[in-house]
């Protein structure tokens, strides 16, 4: 017979945590600081930096997309900008030729985005490792070239004259020509996206992705259809890139084939690595910091790519886990010390 209280039936004692330390507070701090800075920019009338910050937030959605694959599923995509560009072009076409409706543009972009997402997913899912990286790179190059050579899409010039919008949120409307309104909308969107993705990554589905990253060969012997999981992760990641891509032309008023070029995919990967692979908030932090840095440095020199490259190298050498990864390790160590001190 057992002494002492037994846990009630159906109440698990053991809820396995993926990591010892949650990054909830780090994320909350990030979004609050961003909010404060945004309001400060609005108060001093700095619309240039507000629009730059809005762009950084849009690009952080692309970084989330990369991190779902790289940080959780263990697959390096070098072509995520293909989906960003796809969303941007579809959205531009809808807004210019169909109707200036935010929701229509987003809806059509997401629906039509399923086609390239599934197609590319089915192709790339056949291989792993460096071959996966090369396939995703190649597919994106093909897509970028195709757009570059299509006169109806403006070829190398892209398309200009995408109108400013009023986004209807039922209770209120947001005028995208107002920098602070657009910034706050994007901040809420990215915070919501972060929350939704963080939720799914902690469900059994999301944890299976992590299991696949850690030991893909073992998972089928536990009953998991690993290829289906990887395909699902790929499509979700692609659709997130399509989503933020569809918002991009509303901010900038134009689209161009460069959105799909390798440097766009590569920058997204750099943002993720510098911010912290597999931390989800890290890629957002990395995108915001590096987008700001790129803008500042390019104000001083044409050779800003060299500066970004050096920063990337230094970051990989001395902070291989990225800013947030380093922060998380530090928090875990601190907690471990606190825990042993109490004993």
């Amino acid at each position: 017979m057992h002494d002492g209280p037994r846990p009630a039936a159906g109440t698990p004692r053991c809820l396995p945590a993926l990591r010892g330390v949650s990054l909830r507070w780090v994320s909350a701090a990030f979004f609050l600081i961003a909010l404060a800075l945004g309001l400060f920019g609005w108060a001093v009338g700095d619309s240039f930096h507000l629009r730059l910050a809005t762009e950084a937030l849009i690009l952080s959605g692309l970084a989330i997309s990369v991190d779902i694959l790289l940080g959780y599923t263990g697959l390096l995509s070098l072509g995520q900008a293909m989906f960003f560009g796809f969303g941007a072009y579809v959205s531009a076409l809808v807004l210019k030729d169909l109707a200036p409706s935010f929701w229509l543009a987003i809806g059509i972009a997401l629906l039509s985005g399923l086609v390239p997402a599934l197609l590319a997913g089915l192709i790339a899912n056949r291989v792993r490792g460096v071959y996966f990286a090369l396939i995703t790179f190649g597919l994106a190059q093909i897509a970028a070239r195709a757009v570059y050579n299509t006169r109806d899409l403006g070829a190398s010039d892209g398309m200009i004259g995408i109108p400013q919008l009023r986004i209807d949120f039922l209770l209120f409307r947001v005028d995208t020509s107002e920098p602070i309104a657009f910034f706050l909308t994007m901040l809420v969107c990215i915070a919501a996206l972060y929350a939704v993705v963080a939720y799914f990554l902690d469900t059994p589905f999301g944890r299976t992705l992590t299991a696949i990253r850690v030991n893909e060969k073992r998972a089928p012997f536990l009953g998991y259809a690993t290829r289906l999981y990887v395909l699902a992760a790929y499509v979700v990641a692609a659709e997130i890139a399509v989503l933020v891509g569809a918002i991009y032309p509303i901010l900038r008023g134009f689209v161009s084939p460069e959105l799909m070029f390798f440097h766009a995919s590569g920058n997204a990967v750099i943002n993720v690595v510098v911010g912290g692979v597999g931390t989800l908030i890290g890629p957002i932090v990395g995108s915001v910091l590096l987008t700001g840095l790129r803008s500042v440095v390019s104000g001083y020199t044409e050779h800003h790519l060299i500066v970004i490259g050096v920063i990337f190298m230094v970051s990989v050498m001395f902070f291989p886990k990225g800013i947030v990864g380093y922060l998380r390790d530090w928090l875990e160590r601190r907690r471990a010390r606190g825990g042993s001190a109490r004993r």
Binding site: P7, G10, P12, R13, C14, L15, P16, A17, L18, G20, Y199, F200, D202, T203, P204, F205, R207, T208, T210, A211, V214, N215, K217, R218, A219, P220, F221, L222, G223, Y224, A225, T226
Partner: protein
Amino acid sequence: MSRPILELRDLSIRFGALRAVDGMGFTVERGTIVSVIGPNGAGKSTLFNLVSGAIRPAAGRVVMDGTDVTGASPMRMLRAGLARSFQITNLFMELSVAENLRLAAQMLEPAHRQLLPLRRSRRALAKVDELIDRFELAGTAAERVGNLSHGEQRRLEIAVALASEPKLLLLDEPTQGMSHGDTDETAAMIRGLAGELTVLLVEHDIGLVMGLSDKIVVMQQGTKLAEGTPEEVRRDPAVQAAYLGTGAG
């Protein structure tokens, strides 16, 4: 007599010129412990790979519980009720002990719970608790598997295989590299399993197999050398000559 849980008929696979498994066939009755023994390179692990879906046989049939499952994927075999462990520990080293068990136990849950919060997978989590108690892993539940000792990892390997509540458990040298004490404990644990499921075991340790098995299949160079109760196998002259040596056991 009830039908056997596993029936292997004339299974064959060759790797190049090597006939790794050549016309192997035997049955595993429900609720028994059957061991496959044989020298290194006899094809025991390959046989396991053929049964668990890791390799597709070139010829022959695998019939599980009356259903032909020849060439089915590991995923389908698990869902049909067959779980296996590995000779070389094959776990999620970066994840915690509890999470390793949870991943395996998740198969007890309907598919839609994959997208619900983890705490809704009550049955899987209860299974994790149960296995942690049974395998005395409470002290290391939150530890990364990579930080565990070899013996603990071997124990966890069996626990993970049990987490999906299989009908048939394939254990590939479960005591490999274990200390004597751990080996004895593992043997007792395997014997305890006999009531709830069927065990097919590959082992090197003859003493362990003799005391544990209802039936022993002796393999040599991919073929079946002998089959029978431990006593029959012990007395078999061919086995004595080829494997056990004189007066073994």
